[in-house]
């Protein structure tokens, strides 16, 4: 059971020395650790890709959660893009709408693939299916996008956290957006080191983000944090591809995220007690949604 890499530094070095992309290093490590064939590992990731694709398609048709807090925004964005008036760019907004689509499906208790969590599940597929329109990747390259995202997420999960309850939203949408940025760079033909820079540039802009879900639901502000996470992932990838580097090395950025998460009060770590959840509107929504149900709880 040999781990090939436990830091981004090791991951990038392995890729550079072997001349292989990061996705390939991830596949090789997975085969070693789980003692499975390449075919088995790749086909499991293909299945994840299919689930992501189905969720995006479903969300773009319009879904609504049972609480009524979220739904329909992906459709609004697609209609807006088609109007030709978008200011930030069609590809960027397409990524945003597809991230929103996935999270709207998630909020409606639909089937999704966690990346790295369900609350942050929109960003990786959202950017992937938007970039696909421009780069025309093969199905294999799309699967590799997920392996590259996973390689960076693997380092974060083992050295910091990917749980909102442990590390706040920076650990969830922060990780997802940074992972996506790294994968976009690889798909666009950037180097492993540029992937690492893209990851760092995005993560640095997610640091400190708290987890404060209104009424404890994975809806407000989660869906819109996925939207902006997708936007940051694309911009971060473009910055790295333009040759911009992160002054702070990736592993140190991850370590900083970990320390920040640990020093966050529990009210801001998925307990629905602080931040937006504690605003007058947040509290009103909570009592409207759960007021009656809460009074009825007990033996059923």
């Amino acid at each position: 059971m040999d781990i090939l890499f436990s830091s981004v530094k090791e991951l990038v070095a392995l890729a550079e020395e072997s001349g292989k992309p990061i996705s390939e290093i991830m596949i090789e490590q997975e085969m070693q650790i789980t003692k499975r064939t390449r075919e088995q590992v790749v086909s499991q990731m293909e299945r994840n890709l299919e689930v992501m694709e189905e969720a995006v398609e479903k969300g773009l048709k319009g879904v609504h959660s049972t609480s009524g807090l979220t739904g329909g925004d992906a459709v609004l964005l697609q209609t807006y893009i088609k109007s030709g008036n978008s200011l930030s760019g069609d590809l960027l907004l397409d990524a945003v709408s597809k991230a929103v689509a996935t999270n709207e499906v998630n909020a409606a208790m639909g089937m999704i693939c966690a990346t790295p969590t369900a609350g942050a599940a929109g960003i990786v597929p959202g950017t992937l299916f938007a970039v696909k329109e421009k780069l025309n990747p093969t199905r294999e390259q799309m699967v590799n996008f997920l392996f590259t995202s996973g390689a960076f997420g693997f380092v974060v999960a083992n050295n910091a956290s990917i749980s909102g309850a442990a590390g706040g939203c920076q650990a969830e949408t922060g990780s997802a957006a940074s992972m996506a940025a790294a994968a976009i760079v690889e798909m666009a033909g950037g180097t492993p080191q540029q992937s690492a820079h893209a990851f760092s540039i995005v993560m640095k802009n997610m640091l400190g983000l708290v987890c404060d879900p209104v009424a404890g639901l994975v809806e407000v502000p989660c869906v819109k944090r996925n939207a902006m996470g997708a936007a940051k992932a694309l911009v971060g990838a473009d910055m790295a591809l333009a040759g911009i580097v992160s002054v702070i090395p990736t592993d140190e950025v991850i370590e900083a995220m970990h320390r920040i998460g640990r020093s966050m009060p529990s009210a801001l770590r998925e307990t629905a007690k602080g931040g937006l959840a504690a605003t007058p509107t947040g509290k009103r929504l909570e009592s409207e949604i759960f007021g009656k149900k809460a009074a009825e709880s007990g033996v059923e």
Binding site: T34, M45, M109, C113, G119, A121, G150, G216, E270
Partner: protein, 220 residues
């Protein structure tokens, strides 16, 4: 390393909305069900920390009940787990505890039927992964690095030897092992982490050994 596989990061495929509070919770319920070995008739579920604060919003409650009904994280039936439990004759009760747990996402399940009962504490550590920290009063230190066998058995001489011989015969190496019991001669528990994948045949073989009452495997 807490996370070994890329599919801990890109995955699981699951019914929303939360990997830690829905998927991880369903897995805690399902492991309890597997260890109990049958469908319980009743379940008393105590939730702590973030689980206690937000379980309704995240569907943690339906997910745990779904897990107790043996539904996997990607089983659409999780959504209707409450109705299904009623139909299948399983009563359940949720208690939100105020006590500050060691891990923010902790659930303590007491489940049973007319033939017995079992208590399990699980934590959801993110991305849909969970760990068992206590079983029937035995503290466990399941690292999650390796596949783990959990074997409930009667406290009799030779049971531990029987299990380790069975593993050795198949070339399965033990990485870590813990044994414990509540009282002399009463129920005991073996937790064995191994280096190799354990297949169904091995589980059936161990289940058939004298004085072994339940065998379960945690593979994630």
């Amino acid at each position: 390393m807490k996370f070994r596989s890329v599919f801990d990061i890109i995955g699981p495929v699951m019914v929303g909305p939360s990997s830690s509070h829905t998927a991880g919770a369903a897995r805690i319920g399902r492991v309890a069900r597997t260890l109990f070995g049958r469908q319980p008739e009743w379940a008393e579920i105590r939730l702590y920390g973030s689980f206690a604060e937000t379980y309704k919003g995240h569907g943690t409650d339906v997910a745990i009940v779904g897990g107790l009904l043996d539904y996997d994280t990607d089983d659409d039936r999780i959504r209707t787990a409450f109705e299904d439990a009623e139909r299948l004759g399983m009563r359940y009760e949720f208690i939100a505890e105020e006590e500050e747990p060691e891990h923010p996402n902790t659930a303590k399940l007491r489940i049973g039927d007319k033939d017995g009962e079992m208590e399990l504490t699980g934590i959801s550590i993110g991305g849909g992964k969970m760990e068992v920290t206590e079983l029937n009063g035995f503290p466990l230190r399941l690292t999650g690095h390796y596949p783990a066998l959990l074997i409930v058995h009667h406290d009799r001489p030779g049971v531990i030897a029987g299990v380790s011989n069975a593993l050795a015969a198949e070339g399965i190496n033990i990485a870590h092992m813990e044994c414990g019991r509540k009282e002399k001669g009463e129920m005991a528990l073996m937790v064995i982490e191994v280096d190799q994948i354990i297949d169904e045949a091995m589980i059936r073989l161990i289940s058939g050994l004298d004085n072994v009452t339940q065998v379960s495997i945690l593979a994630d």
